[in-house]
């Protein structure tokens, strides 16, 4: 059960921030064809993760779905082992900002993950409609994109994934 509902699709205005442009990802990250989709340690919501898995698979990637309530240690070790093309963190329980800030430091501290694209999205605070400051803080802490829940969130996220080097190209290169 959860304080917030299973609802994670909103019609509020999107406030997405994307830090790095595609070229920088081409240069620094985006290896392989596996994407990690994950919830955060205190977040029990699942439907967002099921949906994201299907969506990312349709965009041409394999998905390792770590599911809900993933402890920080497990998230870091799985990502270190998998070395994914992208890490997608989804949070809808209102602790996303706090937990997301904590986790990004641990991910970026890994040598193998310093350049891996990492994005976070969902309902990131308890008040609804997170402040621009929080979003800027997340980006400054090392997220490549922040997708605060809104009408165009899925579209923005899909665009972001499509803008990454295609798995097929990677295959051809390797």
């Amino acid at each position: 059960m959860s304080t917030s509902s299973e609802s994670w699709i909103s019609t509020d205005n999107a406030t997405d921030v994307i830090r790095r442009d595609v070229d920088s990802i081409n240069e620094t990250g985006g290896r392989g064809r596996t994407v990690v989709v994950t919830g955060l340690a205190s977040d029990s919501h699942t439907w967002n993760l099921v949906y994201l898995q299907l969506l990312v698979e349709e965009l041409g990637y394999d998905v390792v779905n770590l599911g809900p309530c993933v402890p920080d240690d497990l998230l870091v070790s799985e990502c270190r082992d998998i070395q994914p093309a992208l890490i997608v963190i989804s949070s809808v329980n209102g602790h996303g900002f706090t937990d997301g800030m904590r986790v990004i430091d641990q991910l970026r501290a890994q040598e193998q993950l310093t350049a891996t694209p990492v994005v976070i999205g969902g309902k990131l605070g308890v008040t609804g409609g997170e402040s621009a400051q929080h979003i800027q803080d997340l980006v400054a802490a090392g997220y490549d994109a922040v997708f605060e829940d809104g009408a165009d969130t899925t579209l923005s996220f899909s665009k972001f994934v499509k803008s990454m080097p295609q798995p097929a190209d990677q295959k051809a290169l390797s």
Partner: protein, 454 residues
């Protein structure tokens, strides 16, 4: 009467007395990290124009046993999404409840933990006699705790909880098994898991029990489900005080206020039409954020008003041998046949896929069963996997589900109620008639209501 008064003045007795008085008990989900806010929330719920019980919803750090981060948030002044009952000392929680909780206003702790021993200890220290959960429903949908660990934990908690009787209290446990992922689980499996969890509590000596059922996609099917649940509980819990609690829709909620109120109203109708004793409400804010105290009070009063205006006699009788019952019965029987120890039987059931929650990502869930919403809005099986329903379910309907299909299914209820709200608005504009928003109805009900059954 399925709900005898046990005379200990606790949660179960309050619901039993309300039932006798013909009142539906309504309850919010509500939790704040600041004790002052928490107390104000309980006071507002108590003062609402409805027959209410109070809720302490815990924060999600506490739910996963991460007391360190709960503590850090408290010391940093970061607001949590619930009340961290384990981090606060007994005196703090008793102060939150003092003069608010009583025989006329019981309070339940709602959490969601598969590792709940600390939570049980804390709520018992604070003199609280009611909480909720279950070895399956608080494990599979919501985390990574292995199911066998959850079964062991919930066994210990039940054994601990019955000690309350030594202090003159009657422990009450509510199953969360009627929810399982909130949406897209066919009602028969919700009923089966809710009934099995109720039996789990019963076998460990709990004698005041509520079995939950979460509103799904079709009123008729929901009524059949509650009838099936009542039939199973009557059989499985012969010597218990028990009642049924309905959860207002737990899936993707309508975005419009009018749609949200209409859906909430429908859950109140379901509660009354199905003879249920208690309803846990949702608010207009569900689609956007955690609701405020005021939004919760509005939802409680609105639901109570609709319940008051609903006459069970207006609904046709439900077939006691419905398809939902046949499936739920088959699932319960198959699980009980696996082992005399219900905890072991539940573990085996998930291992063999006799119970299998569609789309649940937990490693102990087989994940072969799939569901769909048919043209009438009924939830049906698309694929049975290893569920022992081959002789009960006529036909399944396998299909490839793309992300857009999943979104459509998840949003079915939202769209149904938001579209209806839009059509109403359009009809009003065309006909030039006065707006009669659900909010107005609730205000009318709210003023007219008194707290009866006290």
């Amino acid at each position: 009467m399925t709900v005898p008064v046990l005379g200990r003045g606790g949660f179960g007795d309050f619901v039993a007395r309300a039932r006798t008085a013909g009142e539906l008990v309504v309850q919010p989900r509500m939790g704040f990290s600041d004790p002052v806010d928490m107390r104000a929330g309980l006071q507002a719920v108590k003062a609402a124009g409805a027959t209410t019980v109070g809720t302490l919803t815990l924060d999600s750090y506490t739910r996963v046993g991460d007391l360190r981060n709960a503590e850090k948030a408290l010391s940093d002044g970061v607001r949590l999404n619930g009340y961290p009952i384990v981090n606060y000392d007994e005196a703090t929680t008793r102060a939150v409840l003092a003069g608010v909780r009583g025989t006329d206003f019981p309070v339940q702790v709602r959490h969601g933990s598969a590792v709940p021993l600390d939570i049980f200890a804390a709520l018992m220290r604070a003199g609280i006699d009611a909480t909720e959960g279950g070895p399956v429903s608080y494990c599979l949908p919501y985390g990574r705790t292995p199911l066998d660990e959850s079964v062991r934990n919930w066994t210990r908690c039940c054994e601990l909880f019955v000690w309350l009787r030594e202090f003159g209290m009657e422990p009450h446990l509510e199953t969360f098994g009627g929810c399982m992922m909130g949406q897209l689980c066919p009602p028969s499996q919700l009923v089966a898991i809710s009934a099995l969890e109720a039996l789990f509590f019963y076998r460990f000596g709990i004698r005041s029990i509520s079995a939950s059922y979460a509103q799904q996609t079709n009123m008729e099917q929901d009524r059949e489900a509650v009838a099936a649940l009542r039939r199973l509980c009557a059989e499985l819990l012969p010597a218990a005080q028990w009642h049924v609690v309905i959860y207002g829709y737990m899936g993707v909620y309508p975005a419009s206020d009018e749609g949200a109120y209409a859906l909430l109203g429908r859950s109140a109708e379901l509660a009354v039409a199905s003879g249920s004793e208690r309803l846990i409400v949702k608010t207009v804010a569900e689609a956007r954020r955690i609701p405020t105290i005021e939004e919760n009070v509005s939802a409680l009063e609105f639901a109570a008003g609709v319940a008051h205006d609903t006459d069970p006699a207006d609904y046709p009788a439900v077939d006691q041998d419905s398809q939902v019952y046949a499936e739920a019965r088959a699932l319960v029987d198959a699980v009980l046949d696996l082992d005399d120890d219900l905890g072991r039987a539940l573990l085996l059931a998930f291992k063999r896929g006799y119970l299998d929650i569609p789309y649940c990502l937990h490693p102990d869930n087989m994940g072969s069963a799939r569901s769909y919403i048919d043209d009438d809005g009924r939830l049906r099986w698309a694929e049975l996997g290893s569920l022992p329903l081959g002789s009960v379910v006529d036909k399944v309907s396998p299909r490839k589900v793309a992300s857009a299909d999943l979104l459509t299914a998840l949003s079915y209820v939202r769209h149904t109620y938001d579209d209806a709200a839009l059509e109403h608005a359009a009809a009003r504009t065309i006909s030039g008639t006065e707006h009669v928003l659900p909010r107005k109805q609730h205000e009318r009900h709210g003023i007219a209501r008194t707290r009866r059954g006290r």
